[in-house]
């Protein structure tokens, strides 16, 4: 009996060691095959290889649609598009784990070491406009940028302070660190620090925010233009300017951001071809608008990572 147990224990250890070794080999194997596929694609003349794009869930539908068309034209290329959030996209591209990192914000704002951002190539594939939305019972339809900032800092708490009915304001914010919130805060708050005592609600998905604003009386939040739905809630004008593509293009509507597709500074041929395709007329002229974005080609201004705007 004793001897039998000894054997099984020894065998168990053997098996455990074997499994661990297998797992290790598997990991090495994965790393190895990745490297070889990228070298293969540079040596062949027709495009081949596999591209993984990870990151922003806001940008995901556009990249997926473009990838589908691109793969139809280039049978040798396999493109996988994953979500995970802008932080994931930036992390994985700067670690070299993927070929493309999708992000709603500049990499400089996400990375712990800002110098890492210079090792990446920034491809701005689209522009997204965002605007404040209010629940249907709010009578205010136009608001100044300063009042908007005060609402989101907690200093204005009643709609009567901005020309509306006597009703408490319920602020619904986006998740701290989400691309939408970063865009809104950098353009509306412009450096004002929100006091720690002001803790509004937070939600992380645009769909949920739309539903919450539609149902919560006196509420205000913000969404990308593509989520606007006049039957459920109202979009506010800011300083008399309507939230629409034309006013984003000449920067009279200032709450907008680029959608970025980051690549390594020297991407492989297939990745470069896909990025070129994203910037080309097949995507910029049709898919971008269909997904609710504004094409970069139509922009009359350029904005850099520090927020400085210059005319094109």
């Amino acid at each position: 009996m004793q001897a039998r147990q000894d054997i099984s224990r020894r065998q168990f250890l053997k098996v455990a060691g074997g499994v661990a070794a297998l797992a290790g080999l598997g990991l090495v194997g994965c790393g190895g095959s990745n490297a070889s596929s990228s070298t293969a694609s540079t040596t062949t003349t027709s495009l081949s290889g596999s591209i993984t794009a990870v990151g922003s869930t806001a940008l995901q539908p556009l990249v997926e649609a473009a990838a589908e068309q691109f793969m139809g034209a280039n049978a040798g290329v396999q493109i996988t598009v994953q979500g995970g959030g802008s932080g994931q996209g930036i992390t994985q591209i700067s670690q070299g784990a993927v070929q493309i990192g999708d992000s709603d914000v500049f990499a400089e704002e996400k990375l712990a070491d800002k110098a890492d951002a210079s090792k990446l190539t920034d491809n701005k594939v689209a522009v997204v406009g965002m605007g404040p939305i209010v629940s249907p019972d709010v009578t205010v339809s136009d608001i100044t940028l300063a009042d908007l900032a005060s609402i989101f800092c907690g200093t204005i708490t009643n709609w009567s302070q901005v020309g509306g009915a006597d009703q408490a304001i319920t602020v619904i914010n986006r998740a701290s660190g989400s691309g939408t919130r970063a865009t809104f805060e950098s353009n509306v708050l412009a450096g004002i620090t929100v006091p720690d005592t002001f803790k509004p609600q937070e939600q992380d998905s645009s769909g949920t925010v739309a539903k919450m604003v539609a149902e919560t009386p006196g509420s205000i939040s913000y969404l990308a233009f593509s989520y606007f739905d006049d039957t459920k809630f109202h979009a506010l004008k800011v300083g008399g300017v309507s939230p629409e593509a034309a006013s984003v293009e000449d920067n009279s509507w200032t709450i907008w951001a680029y959608e970025h597709m980051y690549t390594a500074s020297t991407p492989d041929a297939a990745t470069q071809a896909f990025i070129d395709y994203m910037m080309g007329s097949e995507v910029q002229g049709s898919l971008v608008e269909q997904n609710g974005y504004i094409p970069v080609s139509g922009m009359k201004v350029t904005r850099d990572a520090t927020g400085a705007v210059s005319a094109n």
Binding site: Q11, V15, A16, G87, G177
Partner: protein, 297 residues
């Protein structure tokens, strides 16, 4: 194949399964722990500031230049929704278990248990959506608040843990030996006296296990809670003001923060805290199980 080869083959396959699971669990714990402890080791945040701090805003620094990463609001929120949802669900669960086991066993087996199992299969996002449009609206209609908060979250969670607690309670009551009841009736006890003094008393350890398993589920649930609790990282002052839980902050923040930043490390610390809590829950279940076994001999 000779018999001894077959024997060895079986041993290898089953042993490999065990080894795989062991490796998986150990790697998981090591990974969460190493990331979670980086907050304290690399970013220089004191454990006390993390566990007892009341301000959560990792993107901003406090007066001393340290990021404000107080997790106490979320810890309070998590415990509040867990306890309140259990308080709501437990009487209903035990009540229906008594009815099903002691009063109408036929109806219980044929109708009630399949119904309860149906509830288990509903995805949590569906509970969240129903909570958002029904529970939050109902709370708002009589309270004058926005409706988002601990009360709404606890109601949604109570419905979610109800099937777990109920079916385990049914098992607990059904496993009480029939001789106990017969002995009680022979002594002249009524059905109610038998249920209260004999059945519930001897099923107490199993009922506590059922309760704690329900609490574990409530503590770890994220999506449905996140949709109805309002996600505001403040110490809950009332049941009707927006609050947040460890899980809701985790799911909202994880995708947005790059690896290696302080915010990301702190989120891992929250995950570590969650894991430690579930370990505590499991430990309690084992302790109760051990005690029950000793008492029953």
């Amino acid at each position: 194949m000779p018999k001894h080869r077959l024997e060895r083959c079986g041993l290898t396959v089953t042993g490999a399964c065990v080894a795989l699971v062991t490796v998986l669990v150990v790697t998981l714990i090591v990974m969460v722990a190493s990331h979670g402890l980086a907050t304290f080791a690399n970013d220089g945040i004191a454990v006390g500031d993390f566990l007892l701090g009341t301000t959560w805003n990792p993107h901003q620094a406090d007066a001393n230049g340290n990021p404000t990463v107080g997790a106490l609001p979320m810890i309070c929120g998590s415990f509040a929704v867990t306890i309140l949802s259990t308080v709501i669900a437990l009487p209903i669960a035990i009540g229906s278990a008594i009815f099903v086991v002691e009063v109408a066993p036929g109806f219980g087996r044929r109708v009630f248990q399949p119904l309860i199992e149906l509830l288990v299969g509903i995805p949590s996002v569906v509970y969240g959506l129903i909570g958002l449009s029904v529970v939050v609206a109902w709370t708002r209609s009589w309270s004058g608040s926005t409706g988002y908060g601990i009360l709404s979250a606890s109601i949604v969670l109570a419905v979610m843990v109800l099937p777990t607690v109920t079916s385990l309670s049914i098992d607990a009551l059904a496993s009480v030996p029939h001789e106990y009841r017969e002995g009680s009736y022979a002594l002249g006890c009524t059905r109610w006296q038998t249920i209260w003094n004999v059945v519930l008393r001897s099923a107490t350890p199993s009922l506590m296990t059922a309760t704690i398993l329900g609490m574990t589920r409530a503590f770890g649930e994220s999506l449905a809670v996140q949709m109805v609790i309002g996600n505001s990282a403040q110490i809950p002052g009332s049941l009707l003001t927006p609050a947040s839980t460890l899980t809701s902050v985790l799911t909202m923040g994880m995708g947005n923060e790059a690896m290696g930043t302080v915010y990301n490390d702190v989120l891992w610390s929250l995950a570590l805290l969650l894991m430690a809590m579930s370990l505590v829950f499991i430990l309690i279940i084992h302790l109760i199980g051990g005690r029950g076994a000793v008492r029953h001999g």
